[in-house]
């Protein structure tokens, strides 16, 4: 078993040095005495101390490079190593966001192509690369909805509809943008309940936020009807692209009636999740919304000629909602996703989704006799089971999750979507082998058996991790959020 690691503030030794800098070679200027900081309470360690510390910390983590990571809705697929190389090329990593565009034509070229690729994949007329993450893309999209209606004088449109299976960011984003949020229930097949939807479609409707495939891993069978109902009421269709890994080359959201969609480059296009970011959430829109996109976008300023490459520049759309962040988006992430698309082409991307869906259905078939499926249908790239058995008291999805760690697997997403009791949401992704899926299914079946025969082994899990279940109540009641801060008495 790997041991825990002390805090870096507990390893400090006054006077010890890590990285040093050259002496100043310019004539000295005095510091402004009244503004100089007296105390800088940061640790003091050698370089080796620091490298060992973080290496040891890394060993306390599970990652895709270590083992299976079927975290539903997060698309924890393999992160190709070549992407890490290309993003670090000096010509990408070493350029300043405000340097003259004539010295950054390579970057603009790449961004332009990326906009074009995402337009083509989703069936859209315009794409912004600016949003920093999926939730940030959602905010961009909802602000576009707001601006579009305001522009048309439809200021009474103050209501956004979300399905009851929606990710929490959908209502949070709508509320943050000043909209009222109304939840629409799902029907017995896991689709949007059309009658409930119609009842809310009036002249206050601004838009509907749909995740498709939805968070149950099911393709929304009535998607075209849903779009039609929303459009007829004057609303816009927002597509949450969290689950685009099921649709690459399978269907274009734009064709299904989606007006605005955010992509998650860190899910669908294999850029690393980084322990929680950086993500990247480009947004695609249909023709009538292109002028509302946040600026700047990359456009061709001069087509060039036979031996002259096109010349690119930044443009700001006419009725833009404004800027979503500083500079041009998560450029380094975009380089990685660009590399990934280049390696796949149209055929490869379609295969990504085909195998993602094959893997999910295969795994579902292996476990569905032991775990109840709330909706027994062909799934897309993920599926949801109940992590409980009515006849066994006291065994929860959480216990199953913790027990899976003993087998070397990361647990699925727990307790989401909210409409399934004790939900376990499983997304294997296309990069896993049949053997890995077989092993995982074997573990799940064994756990289902243990739940009956020896539930304590579940309750006490995990058994092999460096630390056991942590007391979250203590963490929240008695907040300790930092260490080594002289002006706080935490230590």
């Amino acid at each position: 078993m790997i041991n825990l690691e002390p805090l870096i503030y507990d390893k400090t030794s006054p006077g010890r040095r890590g990285v040093r800098f050259p002496e100043s070679a310019v004539p000295h200027t005095d510091l402004p005495a009244d503004l100089v900081r007296q105390d800088l309470p940061l640790p003091e360690l050698s370089e080796l101390d620091v490298v060992r510390h973080f290496t040891k910390l890394s060993q306390l983590n599970h990652g895709v490079d270590i083992g299976f990571y079927p975290l539903g809705s997060c698309t924890m697929k393999y992160n190709p190593k070549i992407n890490e190389e290309t993003a670090r090329l000096a010509g990408f990593a070493g350029i300043h966001p405000l340097q003259p565009v004539e010295t950054a034509q390579g970057a603009l070229h790449l961004m332009y192509l990326m906009q074009e690729f995402l337009k083509e994949i989703g069936g859209f007329a315009g794409v912004t690369l600016q949003p920093a993450a999926g939730a940030h893309g959602e905010l961009t999209g909802v602000l576009i909805i707001k601006k579009y209606h305001d522009f048309n004088g439809d200021t009474q449109r103050n209501k956004i509809l979300v399905p009851d299976s929606a990710h929490g960011t959908n209502p949070a984003t709508s509320a943050m943008s000043g909209f009222k949020v109304v939840q629409i229930k799902s029907d017995e097949r896991g689709n949007v309940d059309l009658e409930a939807l119609k009842a809310e479609c009036d002249d206050t409707l601004a838009g509907f936020m749909l995740t498709n495939p939805n968070t149950l891993g099911l393709f929304e069978e009535n998607v075209c009807e849903v779009s039609e109902i929303v459009h007829q009421a004057g609303g816009l269709m927002y597509g949450d692209g969290a689950n685009m890994n099921a649709l690459l080359g399978i269907s274009k959201p734009g064709d299904l009636g989606v007006d605005i969609l955010h992509y998650n480059l860190h899910k669908t296009f294999s850029t690393p999740h980084g322990g929680g970011g950086p993500g990247s959430g480009p947004v695609g829109v249909v023709e009538k919304l292109v002028d509302f996109l946040p600026g700047p976008l990359v456009a061709v300023q001069d087509q060039g000629g036979e031996d002259v490459p096109p010349y690119y520049n930044f443009v700001t759309p006419e009725h833009t909602i404004g800027r979503m962040k500083a500079f041009h988006g998560q450029f380094g992430v975009i380089v990685r996703a660009f590399t990934y698309i280049m390696m796949h082409g149209a055929q490869g991307l379609r295969e990504v989704s085909e195998y993602a869906v094959l893997n999910a259905n295969y795994l579902m078939a292996l476990v569905k006799d032991a775990y109840r499926l709330p909706y027994d249908r062909v799934c897309m790239h993920e599926f949801v089971v109940e992590g409980r058995w009515p006849e066994i008291e006291g065994v929860h999805a959480l216990d199953i999750s913790k027990r899976l760690m003993d087998f070397g697997f990361h647990p699925p997403t727990n307790y989401f979507p909210l409409i399934v009791r004790e939900a376990l949401m499983i997304e294997p992704t296309e990069t896993e082998t049949k053997e890995t899926l077989d092993e995982f299914a074997k573990a799940l079946l064994q756990i289902a058996e243990e739940a009956k025969s020896n539930p304590d082994v579940l309750h006490q899990a995990p058994h092999v991790t460096p630390i056991g279940r942590l007391d979250e109540v203590k963490a929240a009641r008695n907040l300790v959020l930092c260490c080594g801060v002289p002006w706080l008495d935490n230590d």
Partner: protein, 447 residues
């Protein structure tokens, strides 16, 4: 391509599922909209992709090709080799948000240490696990101030010395409802006291930058008193590297510190991914956006770390969440944590001092060129504004012909400042680079 299936795998799996083909699994999709032909470039092998990306990257000129004196929110600093070595560990970069603490202690403890470093640098009491970038952190800071005052106050006072792109972002975030931003059109040459008359009982937040966009360093102690007298929140957008040398925003009395963490070990990378810093006082901890890591213990009493206070967040609060943010900039926060740890107390001061020394040398040399003068005599850190004898845009064009990327043309954001060039000088701009800039400035302005 990275899916590992052999033909026999596929057949066996389909048989288990009970489907005849993979296509059959997609029958829920309307038939006429199924399997569109995508018009995308052909498949590249890794070898070909590497070559292609190398070619594209060479269409850019880097800090190594051309000496650059550009800052304006993104700075060229030295990043020790060990930082990227740690970032490349698959255990860190192929993990996700640490929802399962038993197998995520590495990420959780690193974030806890990040929070500690940020608190120590900014002089605050609580930090989140990071935000997207400086601009979005500033926008969240404004929202936070509104929520702290329960939405009862309807305006923010924002200094024109806050980064123009941050101010644009703030407008994007708050313009959709009745909230007013004042102060952006104040006289640029005035100090923070120009904001005082705007601060009243209707003010939720006052926001200034430290050093401000023009590089000026002000003591905001008196401003903090005025803001607090009015019952408002003071948010300071800070460069964390400057705080290694100069008084921290916390010492002035800031309630919220936000800012761009890119100077702490993150490459320029054409503007992202960067690192949004967001820190505050303990009493406002429940109003901060984003993830927070806290210390606790397991059943055996072993110290460990968990995500805490998650009831503020969208997955529990849904439409009542403090923000819609889910992920942070995890890997960038790790970069900053490793960077700060490697440099340590002395190293960070050393590099901050080098910035100060080099910038002051450059400012002095430039102001001695006929036709050039310092725009302000206020204290500065590593960036300053010079009034030029010609439009800054034209000057930059001439410098580029000489192989130098000059400073930032302030005319782009501030009408009336066309003749003003903002110059950033870091430890990466050697004395000979500075001398070369000065020589060329003198030359091109003489012609």
């Amino acid at each position: 391509m990275f899916h590992p299936h052999t033909d026999s795998d596929r057949e066996a799996m389909l048989k288990t599922i009970g489907a005849g083909s993979i296509e059959e699994l997609f029958e829920a999709i309307p038939e006429d909209l199924r399997f569109p032909e995508l018009d995308l470039p052909p498949i590249h092998t890794e070898m070909e992709a590497r070559e292609l990306l190398q070619d594209i990257s060479e269409g850019n000129e880097t800090q190594r090709d051309l000496p650059m004196f550009l800052g304006a929110g993104a700075y060229n600093h030295y990043i020790p080799a060990a930082v990227d070595f740690i970032l490349r560990r698959g255990e860190f970069y192929t993990a996700y948000t640490p929802y399962q603490p038993e197998i995520s202690q590495g990420t959780l403890q690193a974030i806890f240490e990040y929070q500690s470093h940020v608190i120590n640098l900014t002089g605050m009491e609580v930090s989140n696990a990071s935000h997207y970038d400086g601009a979005t952190a500033a926008a969240e800071a404004i929202n936070m101030g509104r929520v702290i005052l329960r939405g009862k106050r309807s305006k923010a006072v924002v200094s024109p010395g806050v980064h123009p792109q941050y101010r644009e972002t703030i407008h994007t975030y708050v313009d959709n409802d009745s909230f007013d931003i004042q102060g952006e059109d104040l006289d640029l040459t005035a100090g923070p006291e120009a904001l005082y008359p705007l601060i009243d009982e209707n003010t939720a937040v006052v926001m200034v930058q430290y050093p401000d966009f023009f590089g000026r360093v002000y003591d905001y102690t008196e401003l903090a008193e005025k803001v607090h007298q009015a019952g408002a929140i003071l948010a300071i957008v800070a460069n964390p590297l400057a705080s290694a040398l100069l008084k921290s925003p916390g010492e002035f009395g800031a309630d919220i510190v936000c800012g761009e963490g890119q100077p702490l070990g993150i490459p320029l990378s054409y503007g992202g991914p960067y690192l949004g810093i967001l820190a505050t006082r303990e009493k406002y901890v429940r109003h901060i956006a984003g993830r927070i890591v806290g210390e606790t213990q397991d059943e055996e009493g072993k110290r460990g770390y968990v995500l805490t206070l998650s009831t503020r967040e969208q997955h529990i609060r849904r439409e009542k969440a403090s923000s819609n943010i889910c992920t942070n900039q995890g890997l960038m926060a790790l970069a900053a944590t490793v960077h700060i740890s490697l440099l340590g107390k002395e190293g960070l001061r050393e590099v901050a001092n080098l910035n100060y020394q080099h910038a002051h040398y450059a400012a002095k040399q430039i102001s001695e060129i006929p036709g050039f003068e310092a725009w302000s005599d206020q204290t500065f850190f590593n960036e300053f504004v010079v009034k030029c004898p010609m439009p800054a845009g034209k000057l930059n064009d001439l410098l580029l012909e000489e192989g130098i990327v000059g400073g930032y043309d302030l005319g782009k954001d501030y009408p009336g400042m066309q003749d003003h060039l903002m110059v950033a000088v870091t430890e990466m701009n050697s004395k000979s680079q500075i001398d070369f800039l000065v020589e060329k400035l003198a030359e091109v302005s003489r012609d």
